[in-house]
Amino acid sequence: MQRNILEYLEESGANFPDKVVFADDRSSITYGELIRQARFLGACLLERKEAEGGCAPVAIFIDRSIASLTGFFGVVYSGDFYVPIDRQMPAARIELILHTLNPAVILGEEKDKRILAQMDMEDKLAVLDEILASGKDFSLNEEQEKALDRVRRTALDTDPLYAIFTSGSTGVPKGVLVSHRSVIDLIDNFKEEFAFSEDCIFGNQAPFDFDVSVKDIYSTIKNGATMYVIPKVMFSFPAKLITFMNEKRINTIIWAVSALRIIENLNAFTGELPKYLKTAMFSGEVMHNKVLNYWRRYLPDVQYVNLYGPTEITCNCTYYKVNRPFADEETLPIGIPFKNSGVFLLDGDKLVKEKHTAGEICVRGTSLALGYYNNEEKTAESFCQNPLNHVYPERIYRTGDIGKYNDEGELIFLSRKDDQIKHMGHRIELGEVEAAANSLDVLSAAVCIYDKAEGKILMFYQADAPCDKEVLKALGKKLPKYMFPNKLYYFEKLPMNKNNKIDRTYLRENYVTVRCDQ
């Protein structure tokens, strides 16, 4: 019975010690080397811990490198859970996250001292490279070996493995906390459903603070496969991307829908084609068949899979293996639940079973995250007692996504229930953008509306005089670039409705593009 994802790593390490597990644009690492380095790092982190036992957060500043991955596994060996943080985020947002997390240790590079000093946390920094360089060939003494063993023996499958922070509607990001058990369930399912094996060569696109990367990383180590970290810049220059994919013989990709869309937008298949590709899986937002059909036209023999699910249920709860043609305007189903995942539709507290009847997509089972770290209020809001169960405690997660069953009994995504949007490949609560905007001194009020047809965040703001540039500059200190409003509209006074609230309906009617197919 499996309790910990390290068992994947160790089993593959025993079978393929000298095989490359991860490679980035600078170097590569074998299973054997990764295990040695991660164990060494784990032992060093363990020595720093004030008391053995307990599963506490270790924040890691990540980039697209093997070091980040080594960091993850090192933290797990030490008995804690890791929290990947993108150091390019505005310091204010990093501070909000670290404040919620209150980690004892923050793994990073020497240069991270500067950001951390701004928030009085520089003494928590542990420089990864320094730690790795501190030993002799990563060998452990008897004490260290024993400490690592003790940690493993008491580790539970319900202990946290990672926390990934997502946009929070009130302005404070929420840390989704996921256990080993949930990831083991997911990755075992992936292997079974999609026939993964040691022959898989993954091309990772998702940054390590996106849970899409969880599928790449853990599928790789479970199957004794290899994963190449694709440099971000290649997605702007698809000819290079395809050359890279062929050079490395990448046969499996699990990407964000937006990455596949870029290929179609730029008509990238007129040159070389990724000739080794066998499986293309995608998730994150609606995959329009216009984009999928472009891929299917050039690469008809690839198995395409649509994956659906919010971070709160450990990556994905349903999947759809594309097995029939679709017209551009048709909706691609999100499919059927993974084994051991309960997915159902609720209308309020009633179960929806009939076809073509809308309901909120809800999930129950092992795939559920443990909750939002250190955020009781938000956890209680989204993770609640199954209203269909009055006889014992059973949690469900209400996704906020509305869906229905089609004629074939497959699940279809219809729309969002609230102000959460998918924009530039990211999940964003418009509330977070609004909260940041309203906190600025340079304006007196602001409202954000998403123009779905144009794919633009519109911001309507009130100030003494137009000051677009100042607003954007100030927002830059609070929000990551992908959350920036794309169009700003200045108002001396924002329109108000009868209830003395900002008239969003008026703004929506007059400024948002309406297309016939909406």
Binding site: A239, I262, N265, L266, N267, K473, K481, F484
Partner: protein, 77 residues
């Protein structure tokens, strides 16, 4: 033409000082979404067809490079 390109760029990313930046791609200032939008707008504005072979970092690292790219494409047609 340079003015029109500058207009497109500043509307797309009002937070960037395009006049002075020489490493828009190398420094990760423009990302893949920017490139996709930009290519679409340039194609429309100048009636050219930027294809996958033209999509190289050196053609988008600064405004002058983009001007040259469009000029070359217009000459071809």
């Amino acid at each position: 033409m340079r003015e029109e390109i500058m207009e497109i760029l500043t509307e797309l990313r009002p937070d960037v000082e395009f006049e002075n930046e020489k490493k828009l791609i190398d420094d990760g200032i423009l990302d893949s979404f920017d490139i996709v939008s930009l290519v679409g707008e340039l194609n429309d504005a100048f009636d050219v067809s930027i294809n996958v072979q033209d999509l190289l970092p050196e053609n988008f690292n600064c405004v002058d490079a983009m001007v040259e790219l469009i000029e070359n494409l217009q000459e071809e047609e």
